[in-house]
């Protein structure tokens, strides 16, 4: 009754079939996401888009026949509504800047974890941008200053305490109870919970728990 929400349709563009299949497999665990197709180079990509338009394009930056950067420009010009997540092995500032200025919505390293890919998709789906945590180190100076006033900075992973609190939140405990369990002030629990909401870009605990459970951030043991 509630959920007639359409799936978020994703197109994969990468010249390595292995990587395409890995991503497809990962995404297939999430019923809200659907990989509607795969293409191996820039020409195929443009041909495909004439037939079928995805919500999100996951695009390898080094692709034959049309570089990823060029592809971003063209796709964004022809189909402004398609969101683009760049997938790259280049830890290089220039690539990033070019991709972003060409219109990409996110920039993910191939070394990033599965969790990161899901987070990236989630953020882009919500109209935000995403940047690989791998880059945050090298890019710290410029990027951080650029994002400093952006409350939902994209290069965040969970700390130990946050994981602990997340597990307790999933169990449905109140802050007061969690505070007793961890021998902390309820205010500290509030702080960690707020950080979790911010990092996952969620508005309340129910959504947080749903996302965390479905994407394997917690191990469900209790009933």
């Amino acid at each position: 009754m509630a959920r007639v929400k359409p799936q978020y349709r994703i197109l994969l563009a990468d010249d390595h079939a292995l990587i395409r299949h890995g991503i497809r497999n990962l995404i297939s665990n999430n019923p809200a996401l659907e990989v509607i197709g795969e293409v191996g180079d820039g020409e195929e990509l443009l041909e495909y888009l004439k037939v079928k338009v995805p919500d999100l394009l996951i695009l390898d930056i080094s692709m034959p026949k049309l570089t990823g950067i060029e592809a971003v420009s063209k796709v964004k010009k022809l189909y402004p509504d398609i969101k683009i997540l760049m997938l790259t092995m280049h830890k290089n500032k220039q690539y990033f800047y070019h991709a972003m200025s060409a219109g990409a919505d996110g920039y993910l390293m191939k070394e990033d974890s599965d969790e990161e890919l899901l987070l990236a998709i989630k953020r882009i789906q919500n109209g935000k941008s995403y940047l690989s945590p791998y880059l945050s180190q090298d890019f710290a100076d410029d990027v951080i200053s650029a994002y400093r006033n952006n409350r939902s900075s994209p290069f965040e992973t969970l700390t130990k305490r946050e994981r602990e609190v997340l597990n307790l939140v999933v169990d449905g405990h109140t802050s007061k109870v969690m505070a007793e369990m961890l021998h902390l002030s309820p205010r500290t629990i509030d702080h960690h919970r707020a950080n979790l909401l911010r990092k996952f870009d969620m508005k309340n605990s129910v959504d947080l728990v749903n996302f965390a459970v479905r994407n394997g951030f917690v191990t469900q043991t209790e009933q």
Copy 2:
């Protein structure tokens, strides 16, 4: 880190292997519950208890060598901490009264749904009693008057509206938003949500969502 909670250990006593296996199979979907053994008659039951003591005994009322009623009395006398859920095909007042006065904690019909079994276990686990909804009709007069002032009456199933609201709660919506979706007053949503918490014997929405999702009360489609 959070969940070192021990499993809830259940012993099945029924002379029909098929029923035992059905229950075992149903329970095995829930990681917090563990069937530690099965016995086929009253003697076996008492022998088993000398070796291993469960948290909950699910007991067929018509069992060879020791009737279910007798078994309840003996077990409760020897092991007062064991909770007992009577499983029966008898829609008969007398059986119910005898079972209850002998010390049973719950009374479930074999015609009841899987959902009902899980609800029954959950309620007993929380120290409450349980009565099959099938009986509530025949027993309406006496039982309802007996439970009238008991806020958490055990024979409740979900209404259509409650199922609708439950689905929206699972999506993490606030009452205000749900009210807009269903063109109702937020107060009405609150009412339904409160009924859901009461019927499932849960303290907050996170627990409610967890229980509902894990036991198939909602169909998860979104992310």
